[in-house]
């Protein structure tokens, strides 16, 4: 082999040069390439005299062309200095890992919090909803002016009047929650959540169908309504996205129903309790009785404003209509108003009130983080004053020095931004993990390109803010002297000191807010709901279809309860029409008259909820009997109607008297009824732990055989009973019976707390972030001032000061700042926590234990962050300090 003749080495060398040519700026490229090419070829032409080692040397030497090329690029292009600054910056940061970590952490905290909240706000308040003209889509609710409770479902009678008599809307529709039984081939019977909608519904949405059509006018009439529109989610989940389903009939509630259309994906209205989206939409026509139902709300109303109408004037029109209805139906409508809520606000749920506060807080947090980082950079800048002085003396211009500092700040901002993005992603994951039920789509807030742009913008702003101040100060002529002389004067320290005071007070403010919410949550969790929570299953059924007579319904529920009770491990079983904390209740409410008393005067609230119970409902829930007896086998069909009232009903209708034996008349399902009170039971809270129990009257299922009931089953602690076991027992009686909602009562109760836990999580995260920033701020200011006073400390030590004196001197300085911050924070908190009043439960906005705990925590954190610089001050060498000029 004649390796020498092999031009591989030359080819390799020329390839390296071609690579280098890419680095060289275009104007120089040709000359540069020619020069290296010529040298290589010249050497190659003399290769006869070259050994293999010589060839290798030539290759190695050619690699130098890359260095040469890089050098040219640095000399001749604008990024040359930037590259240099970057390398220099990285080297310096590596030398002070503690400082680097603290500064990065400070920036990441500010940027992360701001990004997470900005994403949340963007998704909930800014991002367009998937509806055309979504800003004009309104939800309309009932509001009880007597109790102040709003956003209540609408009674059908009121909804019908609103839909028929308003002029502010281009389209308005009533929506009735509905459910249909469906059994997929080979599957268990299941309940499909559905909505029956009146004619304007799809006009309100303004969305064309994905496939097929919406309902024709003729289909909103009895007998012609066997058509459905599928939601996109159900279309995918149950019918595998097969478009041939359109126009075909499916079996729903054991009747053929034709699928006429598929809705577009992404639509979420969150109208129903439990926030379940309907899978099916069916046409709704009004039943005769519905216009008379005005006390029990279970419908929803959704409307699209006319182009020329504002939400305020629509609300005005509805308010006029409400007062007309109040005059026409004083018994039910005296305290009922319409509440117009824009769809977007409705979808933002419990965050609607909190989010603007949080946005403000996060902006403040970001500002503080930037100022903090600037403070840290300035503190470090002092230690670099010598370097800057030398560079200035060697001819570095002011712009050059500022650029060096800005490059370093930008590196911090890039690092902080990247970390902040990670932090924000983690925060959003945590938010998704909490699944705040009343916030639409909070389980999938994306960190998308726009948020990324926000982060980058924020990082860049942070960099400029954090870098400019120290850069301007240090690059001043004779900067080092200025810094050395001026930095420890009170005047120069005023700005950083003020910053620390602001930080501490902000931390206190947020921590107090979080503390109050945490205490509220704990108070709420301690509330006795009136029943025992553990080991109770609830299974909701709508058993009307195959049990179409009272006798059949009575037989079905009697047999079912008996069968459930027979399950090993079950202590008690019963059923109830309005299950506490359930998502879909049949809340029947009417005015009650007590025999022998004048009818309720206008202006007197005589409403009571009527609930049907079967079997051992009260023992199963452990709702105690207060007086008289429970409903039992004596209360059967044909005997006198017996009623049990709750304690709050007893207090409301028989204050100071015994209700047992009293005769009352109420309406149930439109029928007038007369009953005798036979017992009083304890109160059970219904909607939420922070809502008072409602006055309630219970009737026996045997006497009022109702079809919509929830089975309640209490098991022995530790018994291995599953929901499936209980379902099988019901299926043994009716194999076609589907279950609307099955849950443990514990999960139903904790579901109502999710929104509150979410607020607690957000504010706590903010409080912690603010505390971290405040401690970093204190640390930065004290490090700065102790590094300034090394000489002073040295002299003091030389003159006999004990180390303890130095430490306590530094601690005093830091704690003075913390104390000022605490004072400002306490005043601000006492004033601002009132904004949280609506979210508090069982604590006052100026709760003393919360304030004391938070102040103690802040003092502790301040002590720790002051102690490190104080220890460092001790390291001052007396001899060195005295010797330095």
């Amino acid at each position: 082999m004649t390796g020498r003749a092999d031009p591989v080495a030359l080819r390799l060398c020329l390839a390296i040069v071609r690579l280098g040519a890419r680095i060289v700026p275009a104007p120089q490229r040709e000359v540069w390439t020619r020069e290296w090419d010529a040298e290589l070829r010249h050497r190659w032409s003399q290769r006869v005299r070259m050994s293999r080692a010589g060839e290798l040397r030539l290759v190695r030497r050619t690699f130098g062309s890359l260095v040469d090329a890089a050098w040219i690029r640095r000399q001749l292009t604008l990024d040359a200095d930037a590259v240099h600054d970057l390398v220099h910056g990285v080297r310096l940061l590596g030398k002070t890992p503690g400082f680097t970590a603290v500064t990065l952490f400070v920036l990441a905290t500010g940027i992360g919090a701001a990004t997470a909240i900005a994403s949340l706000a963007d998704a909930l308040l800014v991002r367009p909803l998937p509806l055309p003209g979504a800003d004009r889509v309104m939800t309309i609710w009932e509001r009880n002016t007597a109790t102040g409770i709003g956003r209540e479902d609408v009674a059908p009678g009121n909804a019908i009047d609103w839909v028929g008599r308003t002029r502010s809307f281009s389209a308005i529709a009533a929506v009735e929650p509905w459910s249909l039984d469906y059994t997929a081939p080979g599957g268990d019977p299941e309940v499909l959540y559905a909505a029956r909608v009146t004619a304007g519904f799809f006009d309100v949405l303004g969305l064309p169908m994905l496939h097929g059509r919406s309902f024709a006018p003729a289909e909103f009439t009895r007998g012609n309504d066997k058509v459905v529109v599928l939601s996109h989610a159900l279309f995918i989940r149950r019918f595998a996205g097969d478009t041939s389903i359109v126009g075909r009939a499916i079996e729903l509630d054991h009747q053929p129903v034709t699928v006429v259309g598929i809705m577009r994906p992404g639509l979420e209205l969150r109208l129903f309790e439990g926030r379940r989206e309907p899978g099916l939409y069916a046409p709704k026509y009004y039943e005769d009785f519905e216009s008379r139902v005005r006390a029990s709300g279970y419908w929803n109303v959704i409307a699209r404003l006319r182009e020329d109408v504002t939400p305020a004037s629509a609300a005005q029109e509805l308010s006029v209509l409400s007062s007309q209805l109040a005059r026409d139906f004083p018994r039910t409508n005296r305290t009922i108003e319409a509440e117009v809520v824009p769809l977007r606000d409705h979808l933002a749920g419990s965050l609607r009130r909190l989010l603007p506060l949080l946005l403000g807080a996060s902006a403040l947090l970001l500002l503080v983080a930037c100022a903090n980082a600037a403070n840290l950079l300035l503190a470090r800048g002092v230690t670099r004053a010598r370097e800057f002085a030398v560079r200035q003396a060697l001819g570095a211009g002011r712009g050059r020095l500022i650029r060096q500092m800005l490059t370093e700040s930008l590196m911090f901002a890039a690092g902080g931004g990247a970390l902040g993005l990670l932090l924000a992603a983690a925060a959003l994951r945590a938010i998704a993990g909490l699944r705040p039920l009343d916030v639409a789509g909070a389980d999938r807030i994306p960190l998308d390109a726009r948020v990324l742009a926000v982060t980058i913008g924020v990082s860049a702003l942070a960099a400029v803010a954090a870098g400019l101040v120290p850069a301007l100060q240090l690059s001043r002529p004779r900067a080092s002297a200025v810094l050395r002389e001026g930095a420890s004067t009170p005047r120069a320290r005023r700005a950083p000191n003020a910053l620390v005071v602001v930080e501490v007070s902000l931390a206190l403010l947020l921590a107090v807010g979080a503390g109050l919410l945490i205490r509220s949550l704990r108070e709420i969790q301690r509330v006795d709901p009136g029943f025992a929570r553990g080991q109770v299953f609830s299974l909701q059924v709508f058993a009307w279809d195959r049990n179409d007579t009272p006798a059949k319904r009575s037989a079905f529920f009697t047999a079912s309860v008996e069968s459930l009770r027979a399950q090993p491990g079950v202590i008690a079983a019963g059923a109830v029409s309005a299950m506490p904390f359930s998502g879909a209740n049949i809340n029947v409410r009417s005015a009650m008259a007590v025999d022998g008393r004048p009818p309720a005067a206008a202006g007197e609230d005589a409403l009571i909820y009527t609930t049907i119970v079967a079997g051992d409902y009260f023992p199963a829930m452990r709702i105690p009997l207060v007086g008289g007896r429970l409903l039992d086998a004596r209360d059967r069909d044909g005997s006198r109607l017996a009623a049990v009232v709750s304690r709050s009903a007893a207090r409301k209708f028989w204050p100071g008297a015994d209700p047992i034996g009293a005769k009352v008349s109420i309406r149930f399902n439109g029928r007038p009824l007369a009953a005798e009170v036979v017992g009083v039971v304890g109160d059970a809270r219904h909607e939420a732990l922070d809502r008072a129990a409602r006055p309630e009257l219970f009737l026996a299922h045997a006497q009022m055989p109702f079809g919509s009931m929830t089975f309640v089953v209490r098991c022995q602690p530790g018994a291995a009973v599953t929901l499936r076991d209980l379902q099988r027992r019901i299926w043994a009686i009716d194999p076609q019976q589907a279950f609307y909602e099955t849950a443990t009562i514990e999960s139903m109760v904790s579901r109502t707390l999710v929104g509150r836990q979410f607020s607690v999580f957000l504010l706590t995260a903010f409080g912690v972030a603010a505390l971290v920033l405040a401690s970093a701020g204190l640390y930065g200011v004290l490090s700065f001032s102790t590094s300034q006073r090394t000489r002073e400390f040295g002299v003091r030590l030389a003159l006999g000061a004990r180390p303890r004196d130095i430490v306590s001197m530094v601690l005093r300085e830091g704690l003075r700042l913390a104390a000022a911050g605490i004072l400002v924070g306490v005043i601000a908190a006492a004033w601002l926590t009132r904004l949280l009043a609506g979210l508090l439960f069982g604590v006052t906005p100026t709760d003393l234990p919360t304030f004391v705990t938070v102040i103690a925590a802040i003092v502790t954190v301040s002590l720790v962050s002051c102690y490190v610089p104080a220890r460092r001050a001790l390291r001052a060498d007396p001899i060195a300090a005295v010797r330095t000029p």
Binding site: E35, T62, F63, S65, L66, A393
Partner: protein, 136 residues
């Protein structure tokens, strides 16, 4: 601008009528860092090594040092560069090489460098010199 806030720049060379900064001024007139490699490269050129690779051979410095130095010296006017005579290159069936020559300024800086580094004199010769005149 009005008289009250006259621009205090370095561009006109004076500040309030006085020379800017003596140290800065010295930095200006001394165009290169007179390091040992700089001196070596100038010395090699003065001794007749006119091509980049030859300078490397003569000084023992790597190409990543020699070429940037040559370019900087050229930029500062201490070295002149041109292309080798095309006919010579053609005769050897290769492209013309780039040719470097020390200038009068370069000689003066070289003297300063030699004094600073107390150079004994000769740079090692790799092979016999083939003097090549500049193209005229």
């Amino acid at each position: 601008m009005t008289s009250g806030r006259r621009r205090r720049g370095h561009r006109n060379g004076t500040r309030d009528g006085l020379p800017v900064d003596i140290e800065l001024y010295i930095c200006r007139i001394l165009p290169v860092n007179l390091t040992l490699p700089t001196t070596l490269v100038l010395q090699a050129l003065a001794r007749g090594h006119h091509y980049g690779f030859d300078v490397m051979d003569a000084t023992g410095l790597p190409s990543g040092t020699v070429y940037p130095l040559l370019r900087r010296l050229e930029h500062e006017g201490l070295v002149r560069a041109d292309w080798e005579d095309a006919a010579t290159a053609r005769a050897e069936q290769r492209p013309p090489r780039r040719y470097y020559e020390i200038t009068a300024d370069g000689e003066r800086v070289l003297d300063a460098g030699k004094a600073r580094y107390r150079m004994p004199g000769e740079v090692r010769r790799a092979r016999p010199l083939k003097p090549r005149p500049l193209q005229s």
